[in-house]
């Protein structure tokens, strides 16, 4: 596995903005004094006249984005997930969501893998918050390839989109010719009949590792990558529920209100079977290197394997 390429999706975000800027002359990028970290700095360097630094004022930035969109501009507004979805929640709801404006929110540093900055900056609640806003699209890409495809899809989509990117470099898993990003469509990465692992973001790679491990023990696991958490791909989930009889979800987010909740909502309404959620268990994080935290908070392939074996026992 020595040839695995790793890259943080925030890097992909910055690069994708530059790649799209030539085609979309009305594309503007906003940040709140975090351009170096969110990687909108890459865009700022290439297109300084189309970059607007709003200073450390995320609430106002979302309003500025709304005003730009209301006058026909295509806008990406960036900050850490904590501030974009958390601090500015009500502005996103009322000034962007309610008028259904064409604002794309590029939220980086999502989840526990922020690492050393600790609990105040580790946002494990952003998907839950954004899911409650009517009409909001939420994309949580799993790697570099998917992140770039997501940025392109967002700019072409008419309405608000929340894009979730990470700080940590993660393996590139979608660099193949068959890869196709379709907004609102999950991707089945591996077929299986005994259990389904539905993962999002950096947990997709770990889900694939776990499935390979389970295969050694004779357990045939299906793996589905859900990049678009809203609107969620109901069909792929219902099919998996019917065909495999048990689902586990894996996300770098609270088990409350994120992918696990979204999957459980679909399953309980349409074809009730056990759904076991792996994620942050309603606790705050703390400081530490990202990889150590992911292990400590059980966001690992090992924990998916262990949970899968337990979950299979729940099948009727």
């Amino acid at each position: 596995m020595a040839d695995i390429i790793k890259k943080a999706t925030r890097e992909s975000y910055g690069e994708a903005l530059v790649e799209l800027a030539e085609k979309y002359e009305d594309l503007y990028v906003l940040d709140a004094d975090l351009a170096a970290a969110t990687k909108t700095g890459t865009f700022k360097k290439a297109y300084p006249e189309r970059f607007i630094d709003c200073g450390i004022a995320e609430a106002n930035m979302m309003g500025i984005a709304a005003g730009l969109a209301a006058t026909g501009k295509k806008v990406f507004a960036s900050s850490f997930a904590m501030f974009a979805a958390g601090r500015a929640y009500e502005i996103v709801r009322n000034s962007i969501g309610y008028p259904h404006l064409n604002v794309n929110i590029g939220a980086t540093h999502a989840g526990i893998s922020v690492g050393e900055d600790g609990a105040t900056h580790q946002c494990n609640e952003d998907i839950a918050l954004m899911r409650t806003i009517p009409g909001m699209v939420i994309i949580n890409p799993s790697d570099d390839v998917e992140a770039k495809a997501a940025v392109k899809a967002a700019i072409e989509f008419n309405g608000p989109v929340y894009l979730r990117f990470g700080r940590l470099a993660v393996p590139v898993i979608n660099n193949n010719d068959n890869y196709k990003f379709e907004l609102g469509k999950g991707i089945q990465l591996k077929d299986g009949k005994d259990i389904t692992i539905i993962a999002t973001g950096l947990m997709v790679y770990r889900a694939l590792d776990a499935a390979a491990e389970l295969e050694k023990d004779g357990i045939n696991a299906r793996v589905i990558n859900i990049h678009t958490i809203k609107p969620i791909d109901r069909d792929i989930i219902i099919k998996a529920a019917k065909e495999t009889g048990v689902i586990i979800t894996a996300e770098e987010h609270s088990i409350i209100g994120g992918l696990g909740s979204a999957v459980a909502e679909v399953v309980t309404e349409s074809c009730p079977i056990p759904v076991i959620r792996i994620g942050i268990n309603d606790v705050y994080g703390h400081s530490g290197p990202a990889d150590e935290l992911l292990t400590e908070f059980k966001l690992t392939a090992d924990n998916i394997v262990k949970t899968a074996k337990e979950a299979i026992q729940l099948k009727k």
């Binding site: 503007y28 189309r50 607007i52 709003c54 200073g55 004022a57 609430a59 106002n60 979302m62 309003g63 500025i64 984005a65 709304a66 005003g67 730009l68 969109a69 209301a70 006058t71 026909g72 501009k73 009500e90 502005i91 009322n94 000034s95 309610y98 008028p99 259904h100």
Partner: protein, 280 residues
């Protein structure tokens, strides 16, 4: 100002006030006090200042208005209806189930409304975004935002104020409706935003004061605003909450309550008499 034009504006403003009372009475809820304090301002803007076309409400080159104090939507709706953006009959359906006119402005559903607003402190940011947008693409439209004086207690107003001055948004005019009252009482007793003029000056704005109910003074203020380059303009208007309906004037209780049938008759009769005297 030419006496005939002034008289026409006063007549229109009186009709706009009647629309406010009509809307709030039929809705059995809403905010008459702060709506009545901005009727002269809105009349001046929509009849004497702004480049708008009721037949093409989304005309790209139009001037924009953001009612950041969105609870005073009855005044905006009344002036838009009077100006011909939609049928005045809509005012009687304000806040009703299935009606076009929502409790707070909805840009998706109402012709002439340039921005959805109502959650205080947010409209000024959107107005800054619109003004910046005009600058970025070298368009000549102006953006007007109307804020309440109590609204200045929202921190986002000052984030936006910093942004506007930093970006030299001289195509933006913010009007602060200083009627001195908010829901819980006098603004100076709740959590004073005073001194308002000094605050905007300190944030790098050009500040003008005006009498909110004197069209000559309103014209003077807006004429001055147009001579300012490189800075956003804040016009602080001294107004009377409930202006034009004697029993509502300067009464905090009329911030957010509707008149009953008897009060409605009294208010409308008062405004009708005023209209008759203006029409001479």
């Amino acid at each position: 100002m030419d006496a005939t034009i002034r008289n026409q504006l006063e007549i229109t403003a009186c009709k706009v006030r009647m629309g406010v009372i009509e809307g709030v009475y039929n809705a059995k809820s809403g905010h008459p006090g702060g709506s009545l304090s901005i009727c002269d301002l809105l009349t001046y803007l929509y009849y004497a200042k702004m480049n708008v076309n009721p037949k093409i409400p989304n005309m790209p080159e139009r001037d924009r208005l953001v009612l950041s104090k969105g609870h005073c939507a009855p005044a905006l709706y009344s002036v838009l209806a009077e100006r011909g953006f939609f049928d005045k009959a809509e005012l009687k359906k304000l806040r009703h189930t299935g009606a076009m006119l929502q409790g707070h402005p909805d840009m998706k559903g109402t012709p002439g409304v340039d921005m959805s607003s109502g959650s205080l402190g947010q409209g000024i940011s959107a107005a800054c975004g619109m003004a910046l947008s005009g600058k970025l693409s070298c368009e000549n439209y102006k953006v007007y935002a109307i804020l309440g004086d109590g609204e200045l207690e929202e921190g986002q107003v000052w984030e936006a104020s910093m942004f506007a001055a930093h970006n030299k948004l001289d195509n933006l005019v913010v009007i602060v409706d200083n009627n001195g009252l908010q829901i819980d009482g006098k603004i100076t007793e709740v959590c004073s935003p005073m001194p308002i003029t000094d605050k905007f000056e300190a944030f790098g704005w050009h500040v003008i004061t005006m009498n909110a109910h004197d069209f000559d003074d309103i014209e003077r203020a807006f004429n001055e605003s147009e001579k300012i380059n490189g800075k956003p303009v804040a016009i602080v208007q001294t107004s009377v909450k409930g202006k034009g309906v004697s029993f509502m004037e300067n009464q905090v209780g009329w911030h957010g309550s509707a008149p009953n049938a008897e009060q409605y008759e009294t208010a409308m009769n008062e405004l009708k008499k005023k209209l008759e005297s203006l029409e001479g």
